[in-house]
């Protein structure tokens, strides 16, 4: 059976040029294209849905207001992901400070489940996420970002190098280091029976 012909997508470069001229439609198209990538990266870096959405919002504002800084050498997607990564790391630092301040008040900024229609599924995923987050916390922010781009978005070494503006060799060594550390620090006992 033949596939239905897909409509031709406007290239990012053209959308970026229009977005620079404050074209709302172009901006929204770029948002629609990359919002999920941005959200997934932010979520994996912060482990919290609402924080991830806040980071995506802040990153999008930075990206659209700062389009004059975008030289177009890497694609818009990679540029946006770099902003998301940096914003998430800043956010994470602010959250640590906030958490420290809140300890005395008895409040907590720990991750909460969200978006789950099925509470049982949410709970199970929350347990698994806690195990994974604990292991991810052993990674430095840079290594964690590299690994998230690799594991979550499936970016190639070259694409990650573009996104983070680092040599491919550094990407490879960071991913190796991340894997080793994660495997060492995962609580395999708790993960027994995970299908």
């Amino acid at each position: 059976m033949l596939d239905a012909p897909s409509s031709v997508q406007t290239p990012d470069e053209i959308l970026v040029r229009r977005a620079r001229e404050r074209d709302a439609v172009a901006r929204e198209e770029l948002f629609q294209r990359y919002r999920e990538d941005a959200y997934r990266v932010a979520y994996r870096l912060l482990g919290h849905e609402q924080d991830a959405l806040d980071v995506v919002q802040e990153a999008l504002i930075k990206a659209f207001l700062g389009l004059g800084d975008f030289d177009g050498r890497s694609g818009f997607r990679y540029w946006l992901l770099r902003i998301v990564g940096n914003t998430a790391l800043d956010w994470g630092r602010r959250r640590i400070r906030r958490t420290i301040l809140n300890i005395g008040n008895g409040r907590s900024d720990l991750p909460e489940p969200a978006f789950h229609d099925d509470p049982a599924r949410g709970l199970h995923q929350q347990d698994l996420r806690r195990v994974l987050d604990k292991a991810l916390d052993h990674l430095s922010p840079k290594i964690r970002t590299t690994f998230v781009l690799f594991a979550e978005l499936g970016l190639s070494y070259k694409e990650i190098a573009e996104t983070q503006d680092i040599p491919i060799g550094t990407v490879m060594s960071r991913i190796n280091a991340a894997r080793e550390k994660l495997q060492q620090n995962l609580d395999w006992e708790k993960l027994k029976g995970l299908e």
């Binding site: 620079r20 404050r22 709302a24 901006r27 929204e28 948002f31 919002r35 999920e36 959200y39 997934r40 979520y43 994996r44 849905e49 991830a52 959405l53 995506v56 919002q57 802040e58 990153a59 999008l60 504002i61 930075k62 990206a63 659209f64 207001l65 700062g66 389009l67 004059g68 800084d69 540029w79 770099r82 902003i83 940096n86 914003t87 790391l89 800043d90 630092r93 602010r94 978006f115 789950h116 995923q125 698994l128 195990v131 994974l132 840079k142 594991a151 979550e152 499936g154 503006d165 680092i166 490879m172 991913i175 190796n176 894997r179 994660l182 495997q183 995962l186 395999w188 993960l191 995970l194």
Partner: protein
């Protein structure tokens, strides 16, 4: 296939692997087989914890906030008009009016004030010490040589000029007080300029003050 090659293969996306050679090695090497088993377990864990896509209302709300902010902002910045901000990640220059950033600058200013107050408290003490040194008062026991005192004491006799709007880290690094203009710090190799800042603070023997 050697163990290091097997590890490298296991780190590759599954489509790019040499599965036959890898399977052969794993059948013979217990350590690598265990590693492979853990790697597979990790992949399952990663998949099981993938985030669900936020509901449409969340995206709509988010986009409304973004467009509202963009509509109230000035023209898109260009490299020529971009203000220098040492803490700016990529695109941060555009967020001059953002509330979180403003809050963090306020925080910095508060830190700077506290730091300056501490530095101000140090100045009379150091001056007093140096004045008494001039009157041939015995130096501390651990230091019999005046050179040593000279090397370890920050030279606070010179004034530090701070221009309005400058963001400075003032630190002592061995014999001299160093003034680092954070506005001139460049993000190197795509690294976050905050790392540069924290490295500067950590590497200082005495952190005196930061001011805006």
């Amino acid at each position: 296939m050697r163990c290091d090659e097997a590890m490298r293969e296991l780190n590759l996306p599954s489509d790019d692997r040499d599965d036959r050679a890898l399977a052969h090695h794993l059948a013979e090497c217990e350590a690598c087989a265990r590693w492979a088993e853990h790697a597979a377990g990790f992949s399952r864990l990663w998949d099981a914890t993938r985030p669900l896509d936020p509901p449409t209302e969340s995206w709509d709300r988010l986009w409304s906030s973004v467009t509202a902010r963009l509509d109230h902002s000035g023209p898109v910045t260009t490299p020529d008009s971009r203000p220098e901000n040492p803490f700016a990640s990529v695109g941060d220059a555009a967020l001059q009016h953002s509330s979180p950033i403003t809050r963090s600058w306020r925080g910095l200013a508060a830190i700077g004030l506290v730091g300056l107050a501490q530095a101000a408290a140090l100045v009379p003490a150091v001056n007093l010490y140096w004045n008494t040194s001039d009157k041939n008062v015995q130096p501390p026991r651990f230091s019999t040589s005046p050179d040593v005192v000279q090397r370890t004491a920050p030279s606070l006799d010179s004034e530090i000029d701070v221009e309005w709007g400058q963001v400075l880290l003032i630190r002592s690094d061995g014999p001299k007080v160093e003034k680092i203009d954070l506005a001139l710090l460049e993000a190197s190799n795509g690294e976050d300029p905050w790392y540069d800042l924290f490295n500067s603070v950590e590497s200082a023997s005495t952190f005196l003050a930061m001011t805006e």
